[in-house]
Symmetry: C2
Subunit: 202 residues, 2 copies
Amino acid sequence: MPKLGMEPIRKTALVKATILEIGRAGSLDVTVGQIAKRAGMSTALAHHYFGGKEQIFLAAMRHILSLYGAEVRGALAAAKTPEARLEAILLASFSATNFRREVVSAWLNFYVLAQTVPGARRLLHIYQRRLHANLTHALRPMLGARAAPVARALGALIDGVYLREALSERPSDGRASVAMIQAYLAAELNREKTTELKGAAL
Amino acid sequence: MPKLGMEPIRKTALVKATILEIGRAGSLDVTVGQIAKRAGMSTALAHHYFGGKEQIFLAAMRHILSLYGAEVRGALAAAKTPEARLEAILLASFSATNFRREVVSAWLNFYVLAQTVPGARRLLHIYQRRLHANLTHALRPMLGARAAPVARALGALIDGVYLREALSERPSDGRASVAMIQAYLAAELNREKTTELKGAAL
DNA sequence: TTTTTTGTTGATTGACGAGTCAATAAACTT
DNA sequence: AAGTTTATTGACTCGTCAATCAACAAAAAA
């Protein structure tokens, strides 16, 4: 019963199934058979469309990344002030989506993959650069030249907080994480004011 | 030629070989055969002493953790002021040791393992709690009651910076990381002063 | 209508790997 | 000396899995 134009349908089905299976296994120890079964087709077809396991994983990584990117863009679109922009990035980064089992698993395993698979490493750097650009853009009006270094620290802080939250025994929703990071930012902003105050005090 | 008392020798040889193999593979996709071969024995012996692959991995994780713990304790012993204590923790956390291929691989894969293997998760939480305790202890004299929340953020920041540094294309030595984190701390300490200044300004 | 392209799978290949076991041997105990 | 514990391995079992292939079916092109 071959209907034509199946390729994109099959491919997205495989990508989604891959992410779900990675979540179920908690690792990349997932067989093409399991993926294909969940996607409702034979293993041969999975190989037909993707050519191999690694390419399926890379496609899954791209998918996760593009989901996150869309979430950030969506939140960012509605934000007008720099503060709102920052909050939008944080809320998108710590949304419930990103704490779903499969998504956490995908991210952790992508870090592992990024060590050895050049394609995976490239994707990870794309994510990091995009985050850095978004943060710098939001911080510039508040911090001027100091925006870039603060954005670098902030990016690392986001990753670190996510890592801990994702692996904590009782994961709270992301609000506590967002608040914690905003507190850090408050300290950084405070610096500017301190300089002014010191000037006024003299 | 069975000399007695081989058990501890064989076990540590296996643990070290495991870590090296994980570094070589970049993942836990490592066979007992490879580990045993590198450790200079048969696979049967590896199974004899550890009972299974998972227990070998857990022993390796324990080993990495104890190495890190020793490094921190060593650095901490020589530190007398709170500031020195903090710097000791940072220097130990970003020492060259922790950026060796095998060590990075081990950490990344242990994060993955911690999702599904209870023993691994427990070990990870031991690490996190110990780090938090060390940080809180060092921060208390400077920050008083605010030591705990700042220590939580600082712990996450350390993990996040390590993650990025470990996966960056040209890894610098840890000095830049340490400096970045100290800058964050400076902002936090600044807060206290700001409060005082504000009081004085009124 | 023949041919080509696209979709699809069951069956197979070829390889690898975790864990077990029986057997061998040295050292220690009684 | 006989028996027990510890060390050690080669060979084997049983299972899995990625990748390939031949073959079938339907739609589109010629």
